[in-house]
Symmetry: C2
Subunit: 280 residues, 2 copies
């Protein structure tokens, strides 16, 4: 039976295509694994919804993936990772569940030298305090500056990734944190910035222009892929290394749009024919 289980795919869901930055990192880290990616595009964005609603949607996404058979579940969505891990683990106690918050928090704690960490994310993730809690669980003395940056999501989806507009938006959000005026009562400038939303890695070049050259930018997609890899080894769930794994795509609305915007996030082409429409 163990042999069967290790051959199962990894299940992964997000509210949309943003989680494909995690999928991309995972494909690079564990290329032999099969993956089923579900984007709940009919109900995106999760970032503005209540914790109760987000948890309900997350469990519905997981149910669809579990029904198809998976060996491990990746919550490739910061908003859902922030509020829905406990309900997911309760609903599926036999399946390891990995979110994107804890790996990002751990990487930030490892990176910071001055103990001051900035976290940018959606409004809901910041308000829920998930990164703040996860960082303080590892480094109780850390100073954390959280700031919601919802326009980064729209810029990433529109594909406006460089040039004046993303740089102006990044400056408006981040300058008060990284270039504070004297006497603002924020004396320590963070040396580490967590991109706490899966959309944000696409805007890393514009963000890099605003922060200091020495600032460490933590991309939680990459750190989550590392964690998944470690867990597969620890649980003896690695797929035998014979060739390249496959990816199945599921969406809850508009396969054409999913393929088009997903291609931008994944960096490799997805065709509409590869995308299956599901009703949750």
């Amino acid at each position: 039976m163990t042999t069967q289980k290790e051959k199962l795919p990894i299940g992964m869901f997000d509210s949309g295509v943003g989680g494909m930055t995690v999928l991309k990192a995972l494909r690079q880290r564990t290329p032999c694994e099969d993956v089923i990616y579900l984007g709940d595009t009919a109900r995106l964005p999760y970032g503005t919804k209540s914790p109760q609603t987000i948890s309900r949607y997350a469990v519905q996404c997981a149910a669809e993936l579990v029904r198809r058979g998976i060996k491990l579940l990746v919550v490739a969505c910061n908003t859902a990772s922030a509020v829905a891990l406990a309900p997911l683990r309760e609903a599926y106690p036999d399946i390891p569940v990995i979110g994107v918050v804890e790996p990002g928090a751990r990487a930030a704690c490892n990176a910071t030298q001055n103990g001051t960490i900035a976290v940018i994310a959606t409004e809901s993730t910041i308000a829920g305090g998930a990164y703040q809690h996860a960082i303080h669980a590892i480094a109780p003395e850390a100073r954390i500056i959280g700031h919601p940056c919802p326009l980064f999501v729209s810029l990433a989806e529109e594909g406006w990734l460089d040039g004046d507009i993303p740089e102006a938006v990044a400056a408006r959000y981040l300058s008060p944190i990284f270039n504070p005026a004297s006497g603002t009562g924020n004396p320590v400038v963070p040396d580490t910035l967590v991109l706490g939303c899966t959309h944000f890695p696409l805007l890393a070049p514009a963000i890099r222009n605003v922060v200091n050259s020495s600032t460490v930018i933590v991309d939680s997609a990459a750190t989550t892929a590392d964690t998944v890899h470690e867990e597969l080894i620890r649980l003896n769930l690695q797929r035998p290394k014979n060739g390249c794994g496959t990816v199945e795509y599921l969406t809850t609305d508009d396969a054409a749009r999913f393929a088009r915007t997903g291609t931008r996030f994944l960096g490799t082409p997805i065709t509409e024919r590869e995308v299956e429409l599901v009703d949750l």
Copy 2:
């Protein structure tokens, strides 16, 4: 029985708070009427969803309002007006249903001198061609330039309504239409611009900077309020003019956020206590 019916409120729904630009215009146009406003915030935005999903959600919103008793239904959402009027009229044949597309299209046809009309809206509204069809039904010879402007929605919700960023976004979207380079094959510059999304009136100052000083900007909120007023008179459904009407607010998620962003769109304060949470 007729006396009873005219005392009923007007029902109005949108995917979120954007429709409050229509509510604001309606309160100015018909201040004695009671209104129930439903914002389906748990499932916003509609603009990226399929016509089938949008129609299903629209009928669910209408059902909640009809259950409470309304005399007329305003679809205060361009996306839903574009695709869901027919299913709504089929579901509720006894209730007059007014969308925001047809009034805006009619106002644009009245305004244009050179027969060239630009329409900006969400991706779904433009792709669905609702404004194009509505304008051509009135003015078959009109030239129409449709362009999706999704970032305007995010800017309006973030409250970034003036300054460099909204102006740069407006210029990036609209300059190719209103200041075309010579030889682009777009010789006639539109003299009329339809704001085909309820969020866009908030950005009218930034938009005004990019278009020509003589361009007529058609705000479909105001034209829809005029149409509702005319229909109430035509159907003998006006409420007796004794005092100011009331507004009830319903939302499908997060009353606090609804009150906060709604206040920005309505221009007058809404408190969390006034907002009722409903499950559709």
